[in-house]
Structure formats: C-alpha cells, structure tokens
Amino acid sequence: MPPRIQTQRVSNSVLPYLSSTSSTPASSCTSLPPSSTSCPHRTFSSTSAAQTRLRSHMFEWLNSEGRKLRYHEPNVYKYVTNLRDLAKDTVPPEQLSKRPFPLNQNFVSEPILSEEMREEIYKRVAQDKKSVRAVSIELKVDMRRVAAVVRLMEMEKGWRTQGKPLALPYSRAIQEMVPTTRYSPDPRNQRPHESINDLPVHRLTDPQIFYPVSESRQFTRVDAGRVFSGAPRLPNSTVDEITNDPSSSISRATQNPHLIERVGKGDQETQVLQPADARIPHPYLVAHERDSIKKPHERGENIKRFSSRLQEEERAEAERRQAAEERREKKTAKVNPEDSRFEFRFTDVVVSKETTGADGRGHRAPGRRYGVPSYERKKGEVKIPTRVNV
C-alpha cells in the first residue's frame, strides 16, 4: 500500500485547515513499540509465562490487523466492525459500517451537527429571532437540540470574547472521526438530522386491553386513548365534531392543555390520554398533511394555513409561559431593604384546616413537619444533590 500522506478524502469543509492536526501516514507506524512476536525470555521475571504469551498475542494483533485502527483518517469510520473492510482497502469509506460494536446490531454511531450547522442554528434563533419550533422544522433537528445548540453557542461566543482558550484541535479531530450532518443552503437538499416527531410511548398504553366494539362503529385513536385511560365513551355529537374537523380539535388540546378532560378521583386523577396527533412535538405538521390530502391543488393556501397554525401554536405557548410567570410574580413580593445586602422574597401561603388537615400534618401547609425524624445522619443516606438550578 502506498503511504498515505494527507487527507486523501475530502476534508470537512467547515474546517479547511484541519488536516494539520489529523491523519497520520502509515509510514510512522515504523516507530511502534518493539513487537514482542518472539516471546522475550525473562530470566528473573516472576510473571507467569501465560501472561506474557497473551501479551505477545495482543501486540502481534495490534501490529498486524490492529495497525489499521491506530491513526484516524477523516471520514473513515475506523470501528472494529470494519476491520475486515479496512484491511482489504477496497471498500469506499461511505459504505463502511457505522456500528462501533460488532456484536450490537442495534447501536449505530449517529451523526452529530457539523460546525456550520451549529452556526446556522444559532444565527436563525439568536439573530433572525425565529422560534425554536420553526427552526426545528426547517432544519429537521429536534427542538431540545436546537435550544441546547443555542445555549452552547452563546457560551462559546462568550468564551471567544473573553479570550479563553478553546479546544480547537480536539474539536476538529472529533468532527473528522464522527459522522456529521452538513448544512446545505438549499432547504430541499437539507438532510434530516433526526426524526423530529417522536411519540414517547405512554405508560397507559402498556397493557393489552380487550375492548369489544360493534363493527358498525368507527373506532379511532381518540377512542383508543379514552379506553386506555378508562374514560367513558364520547357523546355522538362530539365524535361528529372531531371527525369533521380533526385539526382544530387537536390544536385545541395542544394549545390549552389545562382544558383537557380529566378522569379519576383524588390522587388517581389524570388527564385523558390524547391521540398520537396531539402528543407529538409538531402536531401542525399532521394538520398540514391533512390539508394537502384534502385540497391538493391549493398549495400556496395550504402553506399559508400551515404558517398561521405554527404562529398560533407559538403564540399560545408564549402566552402560557407568560401567564405562569405572572402567577409566580403575583404570589411573591420582593423587598429590598436599604440596610441589607440581601433581597427578601415573601411568598403567600395559606394556613387553614384544608391545608393542614385534621391532625395538622397536611402536606400543603407551610413549614417542616413536627414529629418526623430527620434521617440526615443515618448511615447510607445519599446526599448527592438531585438538581442544579441554571
């Protein structure tokens, strides 16, 4: 094999100058530790011979087959699964397996966001003031990931302005070793980074329920959710309403979660399980698809309706957040005394028969409880914090 001199493959376009840190030619393999193929004879060694033999086997392997894995090459997945393909050197790097563990068929090394993609996400959210939802749909990146990228980029910019040292060569090396999702300026060519409409499997859907239904009746996802949560059947008028306009009934549920019907009593009270359309992160995508099935020729209209739905969802979310904030503000009074370094925050609580309960030990009443032992000093008590506030 001719010695590899540099990045033969196309190097990552965000980082043009990365070849400098990476990619090692095979020629430097000559400086390997002396292979112990011939078992070294140690006269005074107390090590058992078996261990030495095993070690020699290991170094033999590292110097023959394992040599391929020693140095990394950009965009070549040097996983153990690919050992044979790498040895043959005929398989193009795109066809190499992305499974790092040969025995585990279910784990693949999934792509990470490339540097340019992160920049783009940050630009759209922080500079163009787009909502996380909108950016998530545009770039096909999960909403939580979008928020995290913005947070991390914010921190990175802060570091850059402060002149803190960054781990740039390390970052370049990782970007070359791991598959990445590139940003393409043309939205049609943008490869989805991950599936954005993941439905978490709900605890209530675990049991298998035998529920007889007459053949003449339409049994939909809405009904299934009600059966799972043990709610009574919907009246016919409501069913008709939902079948006529499913999108609006879904958006009603997603925009006003407090209005969702509740079943059960006391501590058992729960919301009725909503259909999958309402529980996915981007429900308006389904509404858009429904529109385009119903009215395939009104493309422009459909897109307009879609964007208005998206805005409606964002507005409702912002309203909810603001209302919660206001409620919290209303409950607390902030006092800043002049002769103190501290601010005092007074929260209103209620002490009454309802909160304290008959025995005075109700959980909603303020204060620590009397007559409850403290296990602080008990052996084996875990004192690791469970939460760190931002």
Partner: protein, 450 residues
C-alpha cells in the same frame, strides 16, 4: 476508590475505556456459548460480562436500586400516515384492521424495538458516564477523577459527585485542558524532558527572563537596521518563509518529531521577526486576520483579488472552501480537487495584469495561512501535559461516537444532556458492546430480584 477495572487478557472483559488492551478484548469478545448450561448460568455470565462494562464503578447494590424494568421508548411518527388514517382503518373489520398487501409487506419489514438493549439506561444518567460518552475522557474512571478533582461544572456550578444523576436540560462542562490531556497523545521522553526544563526555568525566573529579554532586545536592535537598510530584502524573507511553511505543512507526520519541532520553531521565529519590523507591537498578540494581512503588507506580497479571496475564506464559506487548494502544487500527491484548484487559480490570475515583484500563487498563500493557523490553534508548548502540537491519542477513533441524547460542543468542552436515552424501532441509544442475548440475560437477572 481502588480501580478494579483491570483489563485481563486471560478472560476478555470489555471496559468503558480507550486503552489498547480494551480494544484487543473488544475485537475478540464473542457471545458466551449456551450449550449445556442452565438458565441460571447463562444469566450469570450475561450479567457479569455486561456489568464489567456498564457501571463497573458502581456498587452492585446501588445499581440494583437504580435498575428499572420500565424502559423508555419512542415511535417516530410520520405526519403523512397520521393524516391519512385516524386509526379507524387499523381497528376496522373484526378489530385486526384491513391491510392492503403492500402494507402487509411494510408491516413485516418494520423492525422491533430492542427493549432489553436498554437494560443499563439508568447508568447513562450518571455524570461520569455522560462525560465519557461525550468523548471528554478516555475512560469512565478518568471521567470520575475529573469530577472528583473539581474540573467539572454542571449548569455553571462545580459538581464533585460522579454519581450525580443528570436531569434533562443539564449542561456539564469539563476543563478543556483536561480534555486535551485525556484525549491527546502522551508526551514522548524528549518532550517530558523539555517540560521539566521549562518548569525549572520558571522556578528560577530572574535569570531566565533577563536573558530572554536581552535576547529579544538584541534581536530587535539587529533586525531593525537590517530592515531599514534593505527594504528589498522582503522578497528573500518571503521565500524563506514560504519554504518553511511548506516543510511544516507537507511533512506533517515526519517520523522525527524533534526535527519537526525545530522546523516549527524556526517558522515561528521567522514570522515574529517579520512582524517586529512593523512598529505596532499589538499585532503580535492580535488576532490572526490582522497578523496575516500585516504580514502580507509588509512583504508586499498580495494582489487585491487574492486578499479578497482570503477574506471570504476566513468567513468559512463552504463554497469557497471546497475550491480551495488543499496543498501545495509541488507536493507529490494527486488530489481529487487538483484540476479544480488549477482552474480556479487561472481564473483569478488572468484578469489581473499587474504582477508584483514577490508574487505568490493561491496555493502558496494558503499554505502560509494554514501554517499560521496551525501555529495559533495548536502551538508547541512543553509545559502542557500532552504532546504538542496536539493530536488524538492512538486508537481513539475506534471508540469515537456520540449518542443522540447528548448535544456536545467540542470547542468549549461542554455538553447538554437533552433527554433520557430511549429505544426506537431497530435502535437503542444505550451504547453497549453486547448483543441482545447478553443484555436480555442481564435484564432477566435483575428482574428476578425485584
């Protein structure tokens, strides 16, 4: 905590580590045979080999408390399919649904969700494991040490508990120096010696500083008259610089690191010498852009178009980058982008008619620039605990993958724990080197004790 995580060669045990012993064990590990073994024995072997990898630093009782039989999973929903069907098709007929033949085909192809591969998902919440998964440490034990030694913050606050269970949305950040140390190649003997000498110098700072200062003074005094006397000299220096830059960039992995270092150092000095001719001393420690442009003006090297190109390039526009020459033309290597770059060069060269005395081709400029960037980002510094210039440690790429539940920013060595790992049809997010048979055995083992 005593490290019991040995990597024995006699019996292959896989650990959460990047060591070459572990690599050897990983590639020769096979599923344990189930012939003539009772179910109990099978479960025992499965559990013991799985626990050697997953949470080996966690005591068994603690893990038993953490174990949960409820496994998180998600189903990716297709908006089009949800829109087509409100669920009544799936429940029509006698309750089993009416499917067209092609739908039956599709249903057959749909993969099962590998629930038992998620047996050890609760351990992925631990801070030390998450640091290892984010590729910030070369083993979980090392990650644990970083936490205990106070190099890790969670949401900006120092966290000294490796067993802290991350909550969705938590951001953890590791000291970049430690990360570079953990993931970088170790120092050679000569480099260690250099570091020792450097340390000794700092311990007796008076002599060292003075001498350095004197040297610098002398150097400046020497160079200034030279520069004034011979303004035509620029061409020569430029040539020299270029030659040095080329040697640096071409012989990247020269087998003699010491020689390479010498070259790098020479280059560094040369650039300093050139820059010191300009009176403004700020440039030396200013950003690279101004340094580069200053260098160019000093050497009267560039033409206008080229500078423009440079400006574009530094803003990292992918289009400009891709057409950028990746290496010098003289180097005896054939690149796929060679023809393209030549065309690009011609296009830029033809319209410009005035030719400077010391003209540089595009590729030469690029080489110079790359050498400069390399010098700034990845300098030689014998005081660092890792080999400089930094390069990844051996066999690192074998273990390099970042699971989906983490979002990592490598530049600042920080990551966000987005959510708990989940299983989805065909995939599980818990990185486990074991097959389903082993993980299922382990799951059954821990179920028994609930």
């Amino acid at each position: 905590m005593r490290n019991r995580a040995t990597t024995p060669l006699s019996r292959a045990k896989i650990r959460q580590s990047w060591s070459k012993y572990n690599l050897y064990n990983l590639q020769r590990f096979r599923n344990p045979s189930t012939n003539n073994r009772t179910f109990f024995q099978q479960k025992w072997t499965a559990k013991s080999s799985a626990r050697a990898y997953h949470g080996e630093q966690v005591p068994e009782t603690q893990w038993e408390r953490m174990f949960s039989r409820r496994i998180r999973s998600v189903v990716p929903m297709d908006a089009t399919r949800l829109a087509q069907d409100d669920g009544s098709i799936a429940s029509s007929g006698r309750g089993s649904g009416i499917m067209s033949p092609w739908e039956m085909e599709r249903a057959k192809k749909e993969k099962l969700t590998p629930f038992t591969q998620m047996t050890f998902a609760p351990l992925e919440r631990r801070l030390d494991t998450a640091i290892f998964r984010a590729l910030f440490a070369s083993s979980t034990r090392q990650a644990r040490q970083f936490v205990v030694h106070g190099a890790v913050t969670v949401n900006g606050k120092e966290m000294r508990y490796p067993g802290y269970l991350l909550n969705p949305g938590d951001m953890f950040q590791v000291d970049p120096e430690r990360v570079m140390f953990a993931t970088g190649a170790p120092k050679s003997k000569a480099e260690r010696r250099e570091g020792r000498i450097a340390r000794q110098k700092t311990e007796t700072p008076e002599e060292g500083e003075e001498s350095v200062a004197e040297e610098e003074k002398e150097g400046k005094e020497k160079q200034k008259p030279e520069a004034e006397a011979q303004p035509e000299d620029t061409r020569e220096t430029l040539k020299g610089l270029m030659a040095q830059a080329k040697t640096i960039m071409s012989k990247e992995k020269s087998d003699l690191p010491a020689k390479k270092k010498q070259e790098l150092r020479g280059f560094q000095k040369a650039i300093k010498r050139v820059l010191s001719r300009s009176e403004s001393s700020t440039i030396l420690n200013d950003n690279l852009e101004s340094q580069f442009s200053e260098l160019m003006t000093l050497l009267k090297a560039t033409r206008l178009e080229k500078k423009d190109n440079k400006g574009k390039n530094t803003e990292s526009q992918p289009a400009a980058e891709s057409s950028d020459p990746v290496a010098e033309t003289e180097a005896p290597d054939s690149r796929p982008g060679q023809a393209l770059t030549e065309a690009f060069q011609k296009a830029t060269e033809n319209p410009a008619e005035e030719v400077d005395t010391s003209e540089l081709t595009e590729s030469e400029l690029d080489t110079l620039k790359r050498a400069l960037i390399q010098m700034r980002d990845n300098p030689i510094d014998s005081t660092k605990p890792y080999a400089t210039p930094w390069r990844p440690r051996d066999y690192m790429s074998v273990f390099a993958f970042i699971p989906r539940y983490l979002e990592v920013n490598q530049n600042i060595c920080a990551a966000v724990y987005l959510r708990h790992p989940v299983a989805r049809p065909g995939f599980s997010e818990v990185p486990s080197p074991f097959s389903e048979s082993i993980n299922t055995g382990a799951f059954a083992w821990y179920l028994r004790r609930r």
